[in-house]
Each structure stands twice: as C-alpha cells, then as structure tokens.
C-alpha cells in the first residue's frame, strides 16, 4: 500500500533535499518549520441561511445519484449540504482537520522523512488555533510546535501573509541546522539553501540513501511484485496523519500535551485520551 505524496510532483527533489539534511550537510538539525496555507473555501454560490453571524445552512436533499449515507460512512450523520461535501469536505471537522491535514499530509510528511522520524512521533505538542465557525469549522490559523526525542522542534504554521510567512517561496519546509538551512518547496520541489553549494553536493555511495521512487504508480506495482515497501508505506502515512491530529487535539484543548510515540498514548491524560478516537456510526468499525 502507498500512503502519502512523497515527491509526487518531482520525485527526486524532495528525496534529495531530505538526504542532504540526513547526511549532515546543514550540520545538526535543531528546528524544522513547515508552512501550510490557512484558507477555507465555500462554493462560489454558497449563501449562509440564515446569514452570518447566525452561520446556519439550510439542509438540502442530496443529489439522486449521490449515496450520501455511504459517503458519510463512519462519520456522524448531519443533513446534506454541498458546502459540506465533495471538494468542501476538507473544511469540516467531522471529516478533516482543514489545511493542517490537507496540505500537512504533503508537507509534514516530507519533514518527518527528513527528520528521520517517519516511523515514530513527537513527545510533546503545543498548539493554538483559530477555528472557523458555521458550516466550515476547521482551524484556519494555527501554530503547532512539536518536540521530538531527537532534540528537534518542528513548528507547523499557517502562513498566508502572517508574520510566519517564510518569504522563501510559499508552501514548504525549512530545515535549520547548526551549519545553515535548507528549504524544500512543495509543488515544484525547488530547493534553496543558506549555502547554495550544498545543493550541488552528491550523496556518496556510503551515505544514507532514501527510497527512490520512479513515480507512485510504478513504485506501487514494483512493491506488489517484490513484496517490499513503497516510498510511503502505511506506517509512515499513519505517523504523518497522527502527528497532525495530535496538533488538532492540542488546539482544541488549548494546552500542551505529552505523547508516548512508542505506545501511542497520552500518558496519564484522560482528557486527551478521550479525544484520540471518534466512535463510528453503525455498522462501521475499525
């Protein structure tokens, strides 16, 4: 199985950037900053009914060709409205964490790979967020700091025009080490570095090499034939998703959380533990 989007646009660049980082080209990494957008969007013709500040929406019958019950699956039942479905599901907390998981699945996944933590998780999470209200209720502005056992702090932030805007080119990851920084742009894969010479540095045969994918389809087919791993196996996808969900829980509770990434529990924290899973509508189960 292949989960995630490692290098789906330019298979070599993201991997090469992570290899440069993992092989010490910027020294010992202490901070990773990931930049995600902060937009939520409604259909162009959407009208709140009643209008803001009431934030209501009038339920509609689902289109006859759309099996809405099946589409909902295990998620809680709510009356249909196109503003909740189709493309727009990603702004609704029942189905998504917003851009945190939408783009975070791309960006933070690469960050985890470059941090060497794609089979584990953070040990501490501190998040704050401003949530939309109404039909869309995901965090629209957010700032989450993750501490890892390897000493790295990963800061995930919504940047659009804010003071967090990296001005390095938009959405991407900045790895900051003792000897400089390296930037990987998402969607395009452009690399930048405080020392541009680093970007000409070949990865030597004896150094760490990451899985080279020839593109997701071929990579997946090869994995089926060989029974080996894809570039983004399930565990890595799980670790990226759970990283982001931990950020959401921290935001919703408005406090710091401690996490055991081996047992995948919040030790001695029943309040956070209660939020680790969302019970499923009948007849669904894990």
């Amino acid at each position: 199985m292949e989960v995630s989007v490692r290098g789906s646009d330019r298979p070599g660049q993201g991997r090469y950037g992570c290899e440069l980082v993992l092989n010490g080209r910027i020294g010992k990494v202490h901070t990773i900053r990931t930049y995600l957008p902060c937009q939520g969007r409604l259909p162009d013709d959407f009208q709140y009914e009643p209008p803001p500040p009431a934030y209501g929406y009038k339920p509609e019958p689902p289109p006859p060709e759309f099996d809405y019950d099946r589409w909902l699956g295990p998620a809680p039942w709510t009356p249909y409205h196109p503003g909740r479905c189709h493309f727009n599901f990603r702004w609704v907390l029942d189905y998504s964490d917003g851009e945190l998981t939408d783009r975070g699945a791309h960006v933070n996944d690469l960050a985890m790979w470059g941090n060497g933590t794609d089979r584990t998780g953070p040990v501490e999470i501190k998040g704050r967020g401003q949530f939309q209200r109404g039909i869309h209720n995901v965090p629209v502005r957010y700032h989450v700091e993750y501490e890892f056992a390897n000493g790295v702090t990963m800061i995930t932030t919504s940047y659009n025009g804010s003071e967090d805007d990296p001005k390095l080119g938009g959405r991407g990851i900045q790895f900051i080490g003792t000897d400089g920084w390296l930037w990987i742009e998402i969607h395009g894969g452009a690399l930048k570095a405080s020392n541009p010479e680093v970007l000409k540095s070949p990865i030597r045969p004896e150094e760490l090499h990451l899985h080279a994918s020839p593109g997701h389809h071929e990579d997946w087919l090869r994995a089926i034939r060989s029974r080996g791993d894809t570039v983004a196996p399930c565990e890595a996808g799980h670790r990226t998703s759970s990283l982001l969900h931990l950020g959401l829980i921290s935001m919703m509770l408005g406090r710091r959380l401690r996490w055991d990434p081996d047992k995948e529990v919040f030790p001695n924290d029943p309040e956070a533990t209660q939020m680790v899973f969302r019970p499923m509508r009948s007849p669904w189960h894990v």
Binding site: A54, T78, R227, G228, L253, M280, H285, V286
Partner: protein, 438 residues
C-alpha cells in the same frame, strides 16, 4: 448556577461578541443570559440560527480548566439531552465527546435504543473511560436491535470490554448477519482464550461471508492473545490458519502472526508453512537447485549461450547442484550467489501438475536465458538486458505429474539473475501446482 459559571459566561459572551448586555456586568444578568442561551440551544433545528450552539461550544471549551465550571456546563448539556430537539441532542453528544464524564452516562444510555440518536450517544459514551459507560453499553445489548445493536456491539469491541464477551458469544449465531458480523469482530478485538474458543466453534459451523469474517476475527483474537503474553496459545491458532485448506490471504496473515509471535525459535512449523506457501501456482518459482558458474576462456556471456555445459546433458555426473532461493524481488540473484562476468549458470526445479494442461511460462533474465521443460527446449533468448519480471512469455504444455524445468542464464557483466513463474493461459494462477526444488 455558581458565580464562576456566570462570570465565565460573561467573558465568553464578550469573546463571542454576541452578549445581549455585557456592560450590565451583573451576575444575575449573566445567569439569565446563560439560561436563555441554553433555551435557545434546546430549540435548535438544522438550518436555524447556530449562534447558541457556537456560544455553548465556547463555554465547553473555556470551562475545561475549572472543575466546578465544567460540572455546571456538563449538567446543562445533560438537561439538553432530555429537553432539546434531536438536532440539539446531536450537538450535545459531540460536546460530550470532549467534555463527558461518568455523570453523563445515564442520560446518554437512554438514547442507545433510539434509531435516530443511538450513534450520536455512542459518539460520547464509547470514549468515557469510566466503567459505568461500559456497563451501560452492556445493558443496552438487551434493549437494542438491528442497526443500534450493531453499533453497541461495535462500541464494546472498540473498548475491548472483556465483561461483554459472554453476552456477545450468543450473537455469533443470530440470523441477522450484520449483528453476527459485529459480534465476531468485537470478540476478535477483545481477544482472550474463551473468546478464541467461541470464535473457533462458530467458524466450524459457518460458511460464505460470515466464515470469512470469523476467519479475520479469529486471527485478530490471536493477535490479542500475543499482546496478553499468551504466545503459545496464539501460535496454535496461527498454525491452524496456515494450513493448506485456508484461503491464501489468511495463510499469509497467519504466517506473519506466527513469525512475529515466536521469533526466538527457528520454528520448524513456520518454515514448513513458508515452504508450502512458496509453492503455490501463480507464485514466482522461488526454490531452485543451482549449478555453476561455467566459463570458457576467451568467450563472453553471449558466446557461451550455445556452449553445452554438463547440466544440459541428460546423463551428466559430477554436477554440483546446490539449493538456492529467489530473493524478496522474486528473482534468483546470481550476481550475489556466484558473481563474476562472462559465465553461465543453471537453475533447475520440478513443477508438479495435477493434470495435463497448457500454461504460460513467464521469464525475466539478466542477461540471456534458455529454458527446457521436461527435457524439451522451449525458449531461447540470447539477450543483453536488465532483469524485468515476466518479460518473456512462453506457451508450454505441462504434463500430469512432474515436469522438470531447467534454465540456463548467461552473464556478460555486472548484474546477473533470473525469475520464472507459470500462469494459466488467462494469466491467472494455476490451481494445484506444486513446486519442488530437485
């Protein structure tokens, strides 16, 4: 209402910019405001004014640090569960997912048999750690039916509630397939010795879709036994599920469980199970005998393609055949096993077919390859190429019984290897084929 919730309500209303008269500042005014807020929330219908719900949600969030405030908010939410509209109650259950405690259990439990609201009630109840929540779910088993019963059964499984197992076992035999399926999954997830017995007994009588569900649940149960430290018990289940009469996907899953549960021993049963699995038709031929390398001075790999070495001669003696296996990529890596340039090697195995049948021999090689089946040359390709699985396709006829397959693989330089498998004319696996490396 306590002073604290009133002041909290004022602060929250200010934050929401929806307070009716924050400037009044009086506790009594705030108290009336909160009463009105919850009354408005109780009347909520989908499509209506969401502000009361937004403000109540803010109160829930901001009350979390003060236990007194949180208790007050929870009590008000529970009143909404009694008096509110169904739409309001759905909202309340989502709040109780975050804010619910043992105090919420009785009110949530009354909703479990309700066709419309049972799922919403479980959204909160399933996550409340207090044993009262589990007891309420168990109690609901006798009050629910159909979809609501399935939901309650699933929640008990999700909680891994051991105390529910005795009540779940009889549900394995009910006519409602959805309920029986849910009971199977829940028992598998709960795990344990008695649960395993119950699943085994149910499996013995079931067929079709339910049997497959029970197979999965039985393996899940074995995984749970391993987590409990009952590895030998789990291993018995895994071994049973590795047997040749099980579906292949079950055998793979069981073998994986077996190897994970007893890695400290080179378990003969596991090795035998692996060998059997490697011998299914449609699989790549993984077990071979290898002879080589063979060279001739001055001759390159392509030159050696037609040079007859001893393994090609029917009555050759003194050929040193060694057992080898294909690697994870389904190919025999001759570069690793033998190495060297400008040489040839031979791979031999025996395919046992239950009947005479046509098949397709699919080959990959680096570099050149010749193939004989039952002593007859069936394929030649003096290629110089990298190995790609299934690159050459050769139509062959297998006879009933043993068919010796002999491959000659030449190497020019660097990489060297070969892969082979047999599939039906339709490309699908051939049932009943066995492979023995000899």
């Amino acid at each position: 209402m306590t002073r604290s919730i009133a002041m909290l309500a004022v602060a929250t209303a200010l934050a929401c910019s929806a307070a009716s008269n924050p400037a009044a500042g009086a506790e009594e005014t705030a108290e009336r405001d909160v009463d009105r807020l919850f009354e408005a929330a109780a009347a909520y219908e989908f499509g209506g004014d969401e502000r009361p719900l937004i403000e109540v949600a803010e109160l829930v969030r901001s009350s979390r640090e003060d236990p007194d405030q949180r208790r007050d908010v929870e009590d008000r939410l529970l009143k909404l569960l009694e008096s509110g509209t169904p739409a309001c109650k759905r909202f309340v259950c989502r709040q109780l997912w975050m804010a619910g405690s043992a105090r919420s259990v009785p009110a949530l439990a009354t909703l479990l048999p309700d066709d419309e609201l049972s799922d919403a009630a479980r959204y909160a109840l399933e996550r409340i750690a207090d044993p009262a929540a589990a007891a309420a779910l168990r109690d609901a088993l006798g009050k629910c039916k159909g979809k609501t019963l399935v939901g309650v059964v699933n929640s008990l499984g999700q909680r891994r509630d051991k105390d529910a197992a005795a009540a779940l076992v009889p549900l394995l035999a009910v006519r409602d397939h959805a309920v029986a399926t849910a009971a199977a999954w829940s028992l598998g997830r709960i795990g344990g010795t008695e649960e395993a017995w119950a699943l085994a007994a149910a499996r013995a009588k079931a067929e079709g879709r339910l049997r497959r569900v029970l197979d999965d649940a039985y393996l899940l149960c074995a995984d749970a036994l391993v987590a409990e430290g009952k590895k030998d018990e789990a291993a018995k289940i895994y071994l049973q599920m590795c047997a040749a009469d099980q579906p292949r996907r079950i055998r793979f899953a069981a073998l994986r469980g077996l190897l994970a549960s007893r890695p400290e021993k080179a378990d003969p049963a596991a090795v035998e199970a692996m060998r059997q699995l490697g011998q299914h038709g449609g699989e790549y031929l993984l077990s071979w005998m290898l002879a080589g390398p063979y060279t001739e001075e001055g001759k390159s790999g392509p030159d050696l393609f037609d040079v007859v070495f001893p393994p090609e001669k029917p009555d050759a003696k003194d050929v040193n055949w060694q057992p080898v296996s294909a690697g994870d990529d389904s190919a025999v890596n001759l570069a690793q096993l033998l190495g060297g340039e400008n040489r040839a090697a031979y791979l031999r195995t025996t395919v046992v077919s239950p009947q005479e049948q046509e098949a397709v021999l699919e080959l990959g090689s680096d570099d050149g390859i010749k193939a004989w089946l039952g002593g007859t040359l069936v394929h030649v390709n003096n290629a110089s190429r990298s190995l790609r699985l299934d690159e050459d396709q050769v139509k062959v006829t297998l006879k009933a019984g043993e068919n010796t397959l002999l491959l000659k693989v030449t190497n020019g330089s660097t990489d060297w290897g070969a892969s082979a498998r047999l599939v039906g004319l339709d490309g699908k696996p051939i049932v009943g084929l066995k492979v023995v490396a000899k």
